[in-house]
Symmetry: C2
Subunit: 298 residues, 2 copies
């Protein structure tokens, strides 16, 4: 094979109570990554926010992933996911590169090995090695990253609205605000909600998923970086959302709802940001699959 084109989806990590553990692949937006064998690792980036992404292979998540896998290739990343959005932009590029290189060079690597390589790239851009975006971007669906591996579930067919305000929050900064220690009672609250969210996923109970997205530890701190957060959240709930929280480290916000209510919730959230003087873009989507081949040439 001398050319491969891969699609890797945006993902929403945390879902409230599952900080650094839960992640979900979204049907859209997504990155497209083209890979061609080459005598060195070379990166090109275009698409939304592409100018914000380093093309130095040692600073680019796709480049670092290639280096981890010991592959040299020319990697062209067509960004569909805005960088620094909280929608797993860097993870998608890394996951897509890992997935594509595995196919292109017939490496025969396991999902866990690919996740490990892609996480190395994440480490550089986010300052923390965590797989909560990489895993769902590779595997699709709803993923649980625990001490010893990754569990993948098929989420129910729920509606998802992601709204990205036009403000800049760097993942590193969002992480630096996090508390070093959390009160024991908040731990209990979050473990309860993380547990009930999983039961909601397993039983297809949208209401339970939505209620379980409440989080007392991370979202309240990160919400301070998003002007109008409370108003946007309440507008979404009034428009019929079952739950609303920050997507990953933000600034994107994510709402879960019935499929038929996505449009009205997206409008309500965009309007609420507008009232706070902030432009935003909405994605009306649903849980989706993982990285996949879009085209290849022998």
């Amino acid at each position: 094979m001398d050319h491969i084109k891969v699609k890797a989806p945006a993902t929403s990590a945390n879902l409230g109570a599952g900080f650094d553990v839960f992640g979900m692949a979204l049907q859209m937006p997504y990155d497209v990554i083209e890979l061609v064998p080459h005598d060195s690792i070379e990166i090109e980036v275009d698409g939304v926010g592409g100018e914000r992404i380093p093309t130095d292979p040692t600073k680019n998540t796709a480049g670092i992933t290639a280096s981890e896998l010991g592959c040299t290739a020319k990697i062209t990343v067509h960004k569909g996911i805005m960088p620094y959005s909280g929608l797993g932009s860097s993870a998608a590029s890394a996951a897509g590169a890992a997935f594509g290189l595995n196919k292109l060079f017939d490496l025969g690597l396991s999902d866990n090995e690919l996740i490990r390589a892609a996480v190395k790239g994440e480490e550089v851009v986010s300052g923390a090695a965590h797989a909560d975006n990489v895993a769902p971007s590779l595997l699709g669906g709803f993923t649980i990253v625990h001490g010893e591996g990754v569990i993948r579930l098929d989420p129910p067919a729920i509606g998802i609205v992601a709204v990205l305000p036009d403000i800049f929050v760097e993942t590193r900064v969002a992480r630096s605000l996090l508390p070093q220690k959390v009160p024991l009672e908040d731990l209990v609250f979050n473990i309860g909600n993380a547990s009930s969210l999983i039961i909601g996923m397993v039983t297809g109970n949208l209401e339970l998923i939505g209620r379980s997205m409440q989080d007392r530890i991370i979202a309240p701190v990160r919400a301070k970086l998003i002007p109008g957060y409370d108003e946007v959240r309440e507008s979404a709930l009034r428009a019929g959302a079952a739950g609303v929280t920050i997507s990953g480290s933000g600034p994107a916000m994510i709402a879960v709802c019935e499929l038929g209510r996505r449009g009205q919730i997206a409008d309500a959230m965009v309007d609420a940001f507008e009232r706070n003087g902030i432009k935003s873009e909405s994605f009306v989507t649903q849980p989706g699959g993982g990285a996949e081949i879009m085209g290849e040439h022998e």
Copy 2:
């Protein structure tokens, strides 16, 4: 009805990562509670460790539960569960009383209302109002207590060994040792393990349940109150246990395993305590049902 006899099971709370959230009903041991309408609340207690339990209705979990429900009855508690064992002794008496009074006086209360009444009793003896033992003793199975209610799952048919060393740990003291705040990375570890434990319960994966019982926050602190804890734990794992941790606030320890390995694991744990100069009693059991009627008379 003028007389009712109820059985209420021992329970194991936390299961490692699910502090104050997870609980599981055990087939044995159990309390038997007899209830007869009376012009005041009157408590009698006999059975194992009965002498340690106050019969003042305002200090006894069954008495407080009756008072919460507005019922006056003569309540005789035949203890099968040793008090201060970490096996939900006080919760079983409260759950059994709530369940029995609901039937005896035909109160028509919901499970959640019964749990709420029984938790009032727990509050007095343990110093914290939590339903992680009361819920499984009432409902049976594996329970998740979250912010807005209780979820019940049917656990798989796994083997359980509970070993109770002959040392005294008061629930209040065990709670007072707990950290007020926990490091964020331990939160992530515990949310990951709590999540994978639930997946283990849902899919019947014993190995995943066992591994997920690891906990970095509570068990390490409480283990200090149990001489020989590490040796007992390692002995159980060597004898084939999939996971071992402290049951509730201890000092009982609980191991999960294949049904056929329970005997050898019980022996290994009792022997390990013996080597540390501590006598212990083992219960070879499995997940069980909740409170139930053993007999009634019109």
